[in-house]
Subunit: 537 residues, 2 copies
């Protein structure tokens, strides 16, 4: 999420989410921390969306819980945001505007216009914010593609911007480490057609549902090969309906088939277009791979195409899917060998063209891990942007531009908020640490009841364990632990020790030492000590 | 780990470990399940080691707890195994044999000989087991390299084997998806030298300690550039001592420097050779990156070289290291851009050369994930091995070869054993599931004391929580939960319900429902119910 602030106006660009890594137990998403905005709710004029991917629109439902602003974006982007708000059952009446190519949106001091770009989803736009000091250009995620599927980028408008002069360019750094130019969607289309032509069984084709152009390529290929298409997966169904409605998807009549027809249609006449290209546990292809899909199973002769590249955190699960599909006898195509996928982000040559086009005074590499920003920075230096006009910014670090000079400002309240089961919090990292600690060696619970007067144990100590030990001789070991514990606690009772914290400390000490020496494990230990008055014994 | 069995003789080849993935909480390693061998301890004639990497020798200490056999391997391999047994404080007297290039080890029916190969560690050997039906060749991990550092592969011996006839070839599939030929170590050496020559500050060079040839390249470069070397990291120190002792490392006098000298030596005269190329949390480079190393910190102008490629499971932590180093102002070189690393495994052209050389009757792709085995299988078919003579085997699936025919046998007891804090178990997957369940939404513990006669609560219910909720209003929420719980439990007391399991079920039901409806969380709930007799109230 980016913000451009001038006097009492704030323009927001994108509001995405990030997926948690494997250690963030129970975390759904990570979203931007919006404390800075909560202090100035009146000044937010609008949110402009470059395109409809989750990492650009995913945080919107959480923002709308606290803030209210109009939202501008391409037609598909707005369609996806609306669907998302429905899922979240958000009933705010949001003021949506669909961007027109040549439109200008004006506020008091700032005004905003757009240029069409190419990305792996239709209706992607670069955003230009005109300020009293000059134009600030945010590319969104983009690549150049001279033979795209769908609309072309508005090169002329981009050239005009550069000609007029750009104050600052914020440009996508995702593929700044990749040499050359990103593959054209047309090459992918040709390759996909060729592969489908060679296949004698069914084709299962998995890709991101939002990659509408890729879906259109598969529809073309199906047409050419006299195959019909079965759509599997909720997000795939959703995009087919939105995509058709907006005119991005052109589907010949009779092309789509029903689940009922799958069993009666000859294999060489079928393409199954499905979700699961990232090995997502509940997606259609993953369930097919695991043999747990209700209607579709793999037959030898089937060909599965992963038209995608795995996001780093998903490599394990994608590979597991590929392995399972191969074991079922499918031919599985994945990776760079077949030109079955192209990135939606520009490689180094694309990035150079963008900088040359915009000729910015200041350059700010955005969107990517720190090393990608640095790589983009070096690329910009290499093609002639003076190094003192390039700013690599950390999250929350503002760039302050006045008429006379430019400098980094003090970091604003910023960072990540965690969404856990739909609830947002900033203090959740501590919670995640606790969870990881529980999982490390499991838990042990000791419960006992003390006579309030005599400090004798009336009941317990009972030991409950979970995730701690499973070895064959655990019973023996647990008995030994219990007897150690008992004798230590009898000692306390003898001394008429009445303080619960002393009992707790002793329990913890005895068990930690015992189990560390026996198993090198240090479970989380809980004690529950009850004191009751005068039982008759 | 592979076994070749004929009548009453078993020859073992390698005994490696696997690293756990992020979800396997508290698991140190995964090692082979050796039940099959435990039933036939007398028949194991020897363990032959292809080379000294962890995934080929790491399970040896665990095997030696139950089995006893002589161990054969190259000099460095044996050196590393000995060091490992010392670390494990294993005092078994093991019969070690250092392989000589032209040696033959004969048993009753089987005999074993060797051929030198190239891998990313010195003293790598292919292993030939001569059986009454023909020779079985296990390549170990290998690549071809016409300009290696150190000894060359024994091409002539390999050709002789092929000429004589090979019954079955088991060949390394790790890079079967990679086109072309793996880069020569010499190219890496030249590239490293060039980069170090250009650097005006200090060079920090990280690689696997066991990559002795790479270390030698850095020593060459240091010599050329008049730099001296500081060694950082325990495994790096260990390999320097073993490597020198065995004559694999040649270090000019005065080349190595002391930690004391680092502060007084001009930056352009220093190379720091360190561990941490995989971003391992406690390795030298990782601590330097995090700013927590006691003696070394990054200065602007320093160059850090990651001469390695990240193992898939380590991508996150490697990237985190790179980012931190860049933020400290270092120039960081990583990835394929600079020819600073080459794989020790042969790419497709290397694999073809191996198959052409050995001309095996049967081909068994080994070492790699299933998709790599399949890719290797297709490669073998492509260069002319009939597909009915290629066997892709699952773990534990034996290939039965008789004089007249070949078939897959029934799967033997096999699979993975988990090492948790040094203890081995086969039932540990259930334990890991329990741990992940604890981490998912945290735990809630409810403890209370009942009057044995009246079934009234004397004390409690007390709620303890961990990793469950941290939000600001948790206290309010927990109080509400407690009052819900209390009223439900009073109901049981009214009914004089005496069965603990009914109380437990009620506790679980009330809390699960309440917290699911409030937070969509389902913590693991423990109840501890004590009954005591006749308290006076």
């Amino acid at each position: 999420m980016y913000g451009i602030e001038y006097k009492n106006e704030i323009i927001l660009i994108d509001a995405g989410l990030k997926f948690p890594d494997a250690h963030m137990n129970g975390v759904d998403y990570i979203i931007p921390d919006i404390r800075y905005l909560l202090d100035k709710p009146q000044q937010i004029k609008a949110l402009f969306l470059t395109h409809g991917h989750e990492d650009h629109i995913g945080a919107i439902p959480y923002l709308l819980r606290h803030l209210s602003f109009p939202i501008y974006g391409g037609a598909l982007t707005i369609g996806l945001v609306k669907a998302k708000l429905e899922e979240h059952k958000l009933t705010n009446s949001v003021d949506f505007h669909i961007i027109q190519d040549h439109e200008r949106v004006s506020f008091q001091q700032l005004s905003v216009h757009f240029f069409r770009t190419i990305h792996s989803i239709p209706d992607a736009f670069g955003i230009v914010v005109d300020t009293p000091y000059g134009s600030i250009v945010h590319t969104g995620d983009f690549k150049f593609d001279m033979t795209p599927e769908g609309k072309t980028a508005d090169l002329h408008k981009m050239m005009q911007l550069g000609e007029k002069g750009v104050l600052a360019l914020l440009s996508d750094s995702t593929n700044s480490e990749r040499e050359g130019q990103s593959l054209s969607e047309q090459t992918v289309g040709e390759s996909v057609l060729e592969l489908i032509q060679q296949c004698e069984g069914r084709v299962l084709f998995a890709t991101f549902a939002s990659n509408v152009h890729r879906l259109q390529q598969v529809i073309h290929a199906a047409s050419e090969c006299n195959r019909r298409i079965l759509i599997l997966g909720r997000s795939m169904e959703k995009i087919f309906s939105i995509g058709q409605e907006l005119g991005h998807l052109h589907i010949p009549q009779g092309m789509l088939m029903d689940m009922k027809e799958i069993h009666t249609t000859p294999h060489h006449q079928v393409i199954i277009l499905c979700t699961g290209s990232q090995g997502e546990p509940n997606a259609a292809l993953t369930r097919i791979a695991a043999g747990s899909h209700r209607h579709v199973q793999i037959f030898p002769g089937d060909m599965v195409v992963f038209s995608s590249s795995p996001i780093p955190g998903n490599v394990f699960q994608v590979n597991r899917s590929i392995d399972m599909l191969m074991r079922s006898g499918a031919a599985v195509l994945y990776g760079a060998e077949y030109d079955i996928h192209t990135s939606g982000h520009g490689s180094r040559e694309d990035l150079k063209l963008m900088i040359r086009t915009m000729r910015p005074k200041y350059f700010i590499p955005i969107h990517g891990e720190y090393r990608m920003l640095v790589s983009h920075q070096k690329l910009a230096e290499h093609i002639g942007i003076p190094s003192n006009r390039i700013y690599v910014l950390n999250n929350g670090e503002p760039l302050l531009i006045t008429k006379y000079h430019v400098r980094k400002g003090r970091t604003l309240p910023s960072g990540s908020s965690f969404v856990i089961r739909g609830k947002v919090g900033r203090h959740e990292p501590e919670l995640i640490d606790e969870r990881n600690r529980l999982a490390q060696d499991g838990v042990l619970i000791v419960a006992l009841v003390l006579n309030n007067e005599t400090c004798q144990m009336i009941s317990g100590p009972d030991l409950i364990r979970r995730g701690f030990v499973y070895v064959r001789d655990a019973n023996e070991l647990m008995k030994t632990a219990e007897s150690h514990l008992k004798s230590a606690l009898y000692g306390l009772a003898q001394k008429k020790e009445a303080r619960c914290e002393i009992w707790e400390r002793k329990i913890s000490e005895v068990l930690q030492n015992f189990f560390y020496s026996q198993l090198q494990r240090t479970p989380v230990i809980f004690s529950s000590i009850h004191k009751v008055t005068h039982p008759t014994q």
